[in-house]
Subunit: 244 residues, 2 copies
């Protein structure tokens, strides 16, 4: 997240003054790519920036922010699940800048369509974050801490769990010497179908049709995969329960 | 499926001679769009075609095909789960023509990248189906009945179950007056990420990280959704079990 966000902000014409990380190596790698300064000493963090972005794992946000001495600076974090208060001890000016997207270091992200969820401790800071967010995305929203937590939960269902479903299908194909490429177009279509459609209207498959014969056949085929069999059973039951 | 396949074949320069359906209305709707003939009388099916495509629900394939008198004609079905034998009583020349894709009547399908899975009762028929499939797709494969059943099972995990995950996320957002559009870019990225990646390498989220605190928070938030809570628990446990 830190890497992708730094690129996006720099591309938007902003200057990254310094990269901080607890490990020298990580700080240096990103700083080198951005042609900027870095430090791994929390007491050597530059005081000349207008904005400080804490992009760390949820558990690290509070302990790290506690050690910062940035009383009047605007300090934000980028987490979906951590509330705004987590950094209140750090500064009188706090905010959240949460890009609702899955990110990995190596895969370049186009921020322009990514929803950026903004929260701040007062209107002035909110306006600052809003302007900043608008530089990199066309999809900026005011989202409070409670709403952000809900979005994050929903994102687990929309992202982490579908990805695990893909893994199961890959595992099953692999064990039968079938090529996962056979499923990739289906996966693309499944996601793009609901870009304009309500997913509840797009539901298909044996559970939706109530096709007990096929479901029985599938469960028998999953006898060697007790965990996946449970997943198949539970999700099929839920699909049937959630029909109008 | 019948509708989409008929369009694709006609676009490829083939002639659809006749549309048969048990209900006059369905037969007529499609026939009108294709400017061709139709019938709802199984005994009035034209004998002048080179190929007969049975595109029906799984349970209907056998009973309908039994009533056909097409002894030497090439007759195929389009199902993922029904074996080749199901139509052996119909003709001495049988095959399967299974497009591995989700289809609905209203959403136009581009067949060019869809895997077409071909099976036939002899080499000659296989060659005919192969040539035909190559007219509409660049992705044609020889897949036997057992493999096709496995593909169909895997497709449930790759398509039906992810779609239901999207529905859950939409339900949660809706109940909290949040806009499902916030998740759509994430869903797109999740699917496109694994077009070149192994989904097992792309897995992220609290379960993957072993973030018990967030998982606990999420389960508490799901107290009003006992079914979804079970889904969250089971899939998270499976994600953790399936880590290397």
């Amino acid at each position: 997240m830190a890497t992708q966000l730094a690129y996006a902000l720099e591309n938007a014409g902003l200057q990254i003054i310094q990269v901080y990380s607890r490990t020298v190596k990580s700080a240096q790698v990103l700083a080198d790519e951005l042609y900027t300064d870095f430090t791994s000493d929390i007491n050597a963090i530059s005081l000349s920036a207008d904005l400080y972005i804490i992009s760390l794992s949820d558990d690290a946000i509070f302990p790290v922010s506690e050690k910062l001495s940035l009383t009047d600076k605007l300090v934000v974090h980028t987490s979906g699940s951590v509330s705004l208060d987590a950094i209140l001890k750090t500064s009188n000016n706090t905010g959240v800048f949460y890009p609702l997207q899955t990110m990995s270091r190596s895969r370049k992200v186009d921020f322009s369509n990514i929803p950026l969820c903004i929260e701040a401790n007062n209107e002035e800071n909110e306006t600052i974050l809003f302007s900043l967010a608008n530089l990199i995305s066309k999809n900026v929203r005011r989202i409070n801490s409670k709403e952000r937590r809900i979005l994050h939960l929903a994102a687990v269902f929309a992202n982490n769990f579908p990805n695990f479903m893909y893994s199961i299908s890959e595992q099953i194909l692999e064990d039968n010497n079938l090529d996962f490429n056979l499923l990739r177009p289906l996966i693309t279509e499944t996601a793009s179908k609901i870009q304009k459609m309500d997913p509840r209207d797009g539901q298909t498959g044996p559970a939706k049709r109530g096709d007990e014969k096929i479901m029985k056949q599938h469960l028998d085929m999953l006898n060697n995969y007790p965990g996946f069999k449970e997943v198949y059973k539970l999700i099929s039951a839920e699909i049937q329960k959630n029909q109008e």
